[in-house]
């Protein structure tokens, strides 16, 4: 093995190249098992990952892998070419780290080789990288779903201004967005003046809608992140969410009806709130699902479509439905 000057290439963030390690064991196919062990003994004390060895040809191209376990179990005189595994799961240097991580999780490999356009071996991605990447990816999703810009710094190490900087832009955007709901509610000001009791159920509908939407979008976003849900599943998922909405809605309508009567309000108002509740839950679950699929289809990270944005949209819709129903049913 020759010691080459490692080119310093700037890999894009989150790419395989940016997280891979350049320390690995290279073997040649014409080595014997005995040669391989001699070589391992020479370099093994300096290298972190020796348990998977990579077999390259004279052009540095990856042609196979052989594990130390295989070497241990093989005959001393066998050729590496004869015992290596030629079907290698590898990653391209520009692949997303998330994809390699899920390959490691899927296959249980200790490491996955990273190659360039010409299939030349440029590094390896190891299981401990996978554990770190999996944490980072989940944290990023948590952050996006809570409308916070991603930060590499640990929480306790970040200053107050640093933390606020990651939160204010999103809060501001969402606040402006939510302000438009006001324009919709203004249309119903007269009804409110006639029947101010309507307002008591505004938080009820808004919160329940938000909660239901968060539930469905969280499940779907997580399912997508883990590769369990694909774009092709759109209609299956929406169908399922519809059924779930009907079941959840049926129960909530009952509790809502009782609660409204308990408030001392009339039967008709209770019916209005219940109908609005059913509509809210169906809309929340379906929109919660739909938004994530749309995001995926246009290649935006589905996680940004989570609770915060969703809640805004659902709030506007559920209030319009509620007040319109009130106008029709209660004749105001």
């Amino acid at each position: 093995m020759t010691c080459e000057l490692v080119e310093t290439i700037e890999y894009p963030e989150h790419s395989a190249g940016s997280v891979m390690s350049e320390e690995y064991v290279e073997l040649y196919s014409n080595m014997t098992v005995d040669d391989a062990f001699t070589y391992l003994q020479q370099i093994g004390s300096n290298l972190e990952n020796i348990y998977t060895c990579y077999v390259v040809n004279s052009g540095q191209r990856l042609i196979g892998i052989v594990s130390v376990r295989t070497l241990l179990l093989a005959d001393q005189s066998s050729l590496v070419a004869d015992i290596m595994e030629p079907n290698v799961v590898s990653a391209h240097e520009l692949d997303d780290q998330e994809d390699i991580m899920s390959d490691i999780r899927k296959y249980g490999f200790l490491s996955i080789p990273v190659v360039d356009d010409d299939r030349r071996l440029v590094g390896v991605f190891t299981f401990d990288d996978a554990i770190a990447v999996q944490d980072d990816e989940a944290t990023e999703d948590f952050e996006k779903m809570a409308a916070i810009s991603h930060s590499e710094m640990p929480y306790l190490g970040s200053g107050v201004f640093e933390l606020a900087k990651h939160r204010i832009p999103w809060l501001f955007l969402l606040m402006i967005f939510a302000s438009f709901t006001a324009l919709l509610v203004e249309l119903y000001e007269d009804s409110l003046a006639v029947l101010p009791a309507l307002v008591a159920f505004v938080p009820v509908l808004m919160n329940t809608g938000g909660n239901a939407g968060t539930q469905s979008s969280t499940m779907i976003i997580r399912g997508m992140a883990l590769g369990e849900i694909e774009l092709a599943d759109t209609f299956r998922v929406l169908g399922k969410e519809m059924v779930v909405s009907l079941i959840c809605g049926a129960f909530l309508v009952i509790t809502t009806y009782i609660s409204v009567l308990f408030f001392g309000e009339g039967h008709m108002l209770a019916v209005t709130v219940c109908l609005a509740m059913m509509a809210t839950i169906i809309m929340s679950n379906l929109i919660g699902g739909l938004l994530t699929f749309i995001a995926k289809a246009v290649k935006i990270d589905p996680a940004v479509m989570a609770a915060p944005l969703l809640t805004n949209i659902i709030d506007a819709l559920c209030l319009v439905v509620y007040f319109t129903l009130a106008q029709i049913i209660l004749g105001i």
């Binding site: 348990y51 079907n87 799961v89 204010i168 203004e186 909660n211 969280t218 399922k240 779930v244 408030f263």
Partner: protein, 442 residues
């Protein structure tokens, strides 16, 4: 995705057999799962004997059951004996009683005893995750003997890269890596090259503790000992990756107000899904009626000035968003052990300051926005002050709830957005309407 197996099964069985030979077991399992019931069994029987168990371990439980119900007792015995014990236990745990009975009746009594023993470890404990196929060495043997031992038994071991040194009582006394063995002289004694300062877990340790140890020390495998210190199994990194994923998913679900689900989304029935979501929805629905009751107290004000209602969505949404930012960061920080119990006050103090900062910036922004939209300055004052208090309370309480839950040894993730929103909404509305009453004299 195209399924190679189906195509080959219909056209060319010899080619199929060849293809199965060269495919990775995980990929075979993935494609098998897409076949229909009868085909699965046909293809499964074509697998080389040595691979059959490995593929079986990777299959979903419903496919496993389907295969077990179709194959002979002899085939069952072969597969279960070949499975790593942790995979066998996983599989048996998910099977219905009649299948379990048939499987256990067909394995050797040693295997049966082991399986029964493993099934008794609590869920999510190290004992329930570990497997027993590890390499154990004696301290008095030489490196050369160790290699001979590995050559003889290594094929059936989950890993050969970390070997465990036990004494005559099966007590764990050291670990030695394959790297050390390779680098040591052949005649050296294991007792001299082994590491005596090593990490281990106990059978009843929670899987989250294990995960944290793997995270921190980049371990490949961790030995598990019983109460007496005897080595009973190992947990390997590949199982930990799955645990890590499941723990994150559980947190996502809890934070969205759901009971954690067992299975993938598409495999969970709408009924089970509703069951996971309903209790929280109903609980929160009742609690939010308390908020409604508070608003009802201010009905008179609404009757006079219904325009106040138009600001409710903005106030409630912004406070909800602000609160979820704080609680999410704190919950995640605690899950990754970046935030510990002792950090209670530093974190709270930090969130209080961030809350004040965010609140002031947004209140000013909102005031300007309302002036531009030609609202009365007084109205702007009411809404902006209410907005500041909403953000301030949301963030402070958003951090306080999970920190408090942690101090009380409850799961912080449960204290996320939904509960928080309900509490903060009530406070926000009281502040808003009270301010309106005072400043606008309604």
């Amino acid at each position: 995705m195209e399924n190679e197996l189906i195509q080959l099964l219909r056209s060319n069985r010899a080619a199929l057999r060849q293809r199965l030979d060269s495919m990775n077991v995980v990929d075979i399992a993935e494609q098998l799962e897409q076949l229909d019931k009868a085909d699965v069994v046909v293809v499964f029987r074509m697998l080389p004997k040595t691979e059959a168990a490995e593929v079986f371990a990777e299959l979903d439980h419903d496919v496993q059951q389907n295969i077990i119900e179709a194959i002979t007792d002899r085939e069952i015995r072969y597969i279960v004996d070949e499975l790593f014990l942790d995979d066998a236990v996983d599989f048996i745990e998910e099977m219905p009683a009649n299948v379990v009975k048939r499987v256990l009746a067909n394995v050797t009594s040693d295997t049966r005893d082991l399986i029964n023993h493993f099934l008794q470890y609590p869920d999510d404990s190290a004992g329930s995750m570990m497997t027993i196929e590890f390499v154990d060495l004696q301290s008095g043997t030489t490196v050369a003997d160790a290699f001979a031992h590995i050559r003889e038994t290594g094929m059936d071991k989950e890993t050969v890269y970390t070997c465990y040194v036990t004494d005559s009582q099966r007590m764990l006394i050291g670990v030695v890596s394959a790297r050390t063995l390779i680098l040591s002289a052949k005649e050296q004694l294991i007792g001299d090259v082994m590491e005596t300062d090593y990490f281990f877990a106990r059978t009843h340790d929670d899987r989250e503790e294990l995960l944290n140890r793997f995270r921190e020390y980049s371990l490949m495998a961790l030995p598990v000992v019983d109460n007496e210190g005897r080595l009973v199994g190992i947990v390997t990194f590949d199982d930990i990756l799955v645990v890590q994923e499941e723990e994150a998913t559980e947190d996502f679900e809890k934070m969205a107000g759901m009971s954690p689900s067992e299975d993938e989304y598409l495999k969970t029935s709408a009924w089970v899904m509703s069951k996971n979501r309903l209790p929280w929805l109903i609980f929160l629905n009742f609690s939010v009626f308390l908020t409604g009751a508070i608003v009802a107290k201010f009905e008179d004000i609404v009757a006079i000035l219904p325009i106040l209602v138009t600001f409710l969505p903005m106030l409630m949404d912004t406070s909800g968003d602000a609160g979820s930012q704080s609680s999410t960061l704190v919950i995640r920080g605690m899950a990754l052990e970046e935030i510990k119990q002792t950090d209670f006050f530093p974190v709270l103090w930090k969130e209080v300051r961030v809350a004040a900062l965010c609140g002031i910036v947004l209140a000013i922004a909102n005031f300007i926005r309302m002036l531009i939209f030609r609202y009365e300055p007084n109205m702007g004052l009411v809404v902006s002050t209410a907005l500041f208090s909403a953000i301030f309370f949301a963030k402070t309480i958003g951090a306080l709830l999970p920190l408090g839950a942690n101090a009380l040894k409850m799961d912080p993730a449960v204290m996320a957005v939904p509960i928080l929103t309900t509490i903060v909404d009530a406070m926000t509305l009281i502040v808003f309407f009270s301010l309106a009453k005072i400043i606008l004299h309604v």
